[in-house]
Symmetry: C2
Subunit: 139 residues, 2 copies
DNA sequence: TCCTTGCCTGACGTATACGTCAAGAGGCTC
DNA sequence: GAGCCTCTTGACGTATACGTCAGGCAAGGA
């Protein structure tokens, strides 16, 4: 049988090496290995080499987004658990998820508001400077 | 003339010690001194003791807000300059302000969008968990 | 077979942002 | 005027998030 001629149509079974993954997100391999050492990623191995699935790639995307919005790596761990553990039904877990998400939501809403405040201030400064520049160049 | 019996009505001449300032913002004195060592604050001195004006206090507020929205201290320095230097009219300065504010605005808009994305995901997880909890407690 | 390339695991280095003593000076109070 | 409190300046310590070698293995090409 020839099963080498096409990828599966439905489930994405694409695999990535660490170099590809690093390039895809513009981070270094060191960074990816560092996240793994902190328990944020668990790629399969082929011999000693790391092999990443599409799910691993998505996960790295989440990690990086969490970072840019200001989470520390130690926080990102529980953060990712929230994404992964929603299906779980035990009561304590559900309450944990409910509490933690509420907490994070409040935190992010506050941060977003502070960003909005800063944005409007910056816009005032920006357009003000532009006007003053235009005023001194009447041509 | 007697000019000692009342504070100016318009300009706020209230002064603060470092302890008050620290308490006002919930930071340590060490943090405030650290920011000064990085050139972000320039309080007056009475002898060796630092004395902060209302303007200094406002400035510290800006610094802390800049921090919570993800700026590094080295960035905050230019950031504060934008706020303070708007009045300046030299062309190079105006262009600098225009460019820097545009840059920061784009950056913050991106960050805000990532926060919004994360927020809606978290809200889905949050309400989903709540529903599942309710479903197992029919009472 | 040798060489280059890519990935691996430590191990140490670095920048940021403070925390934590240590030691001393000035003021207030009992 | 002795003790206590607050503030000051170093100086060193610490946590986070990687960067940067060093040394080694393994596969593929000339």
């Amino acid at each position: 049988m020839d099963d080498t001629h096409a990828p599966h149509p439905a489930s994405d079974t694409t695999l990535y090496g660490i170099a590809e993954l690093a390039r895809a997100y513009g981070v270094t391999q060191r960074t990816i290995r560092f996240y793994e050492s902190k328990g944020l990623l668990h790629p399969q191995r082929v011999g000693t080499q790391r092999v990443y699935t599409e799910a691993d790639k998505t996960r790295l995307g989440l990690i990086l987004r969490a970072k840019t919005i200001g989470s520390k790596i130690s926080e990102i761990k529980t953060f990712l658990d929230l994404y992964g553990r929603e299906g779980e039904g035990r009561e304590r877990q559900l309450n944990f998820v409910i509490d933690k998400t509420a907490e994070k939501i409040a935190e992010l809403e506050d941060k977003r508001d502070q960003i909005e405040t800063t944005l409007s201030e910056l816009r005032v400064i920006h357009s003000g400077a532009k006007e003053r520049l235009a005023a001194r160049q009447p041509r």
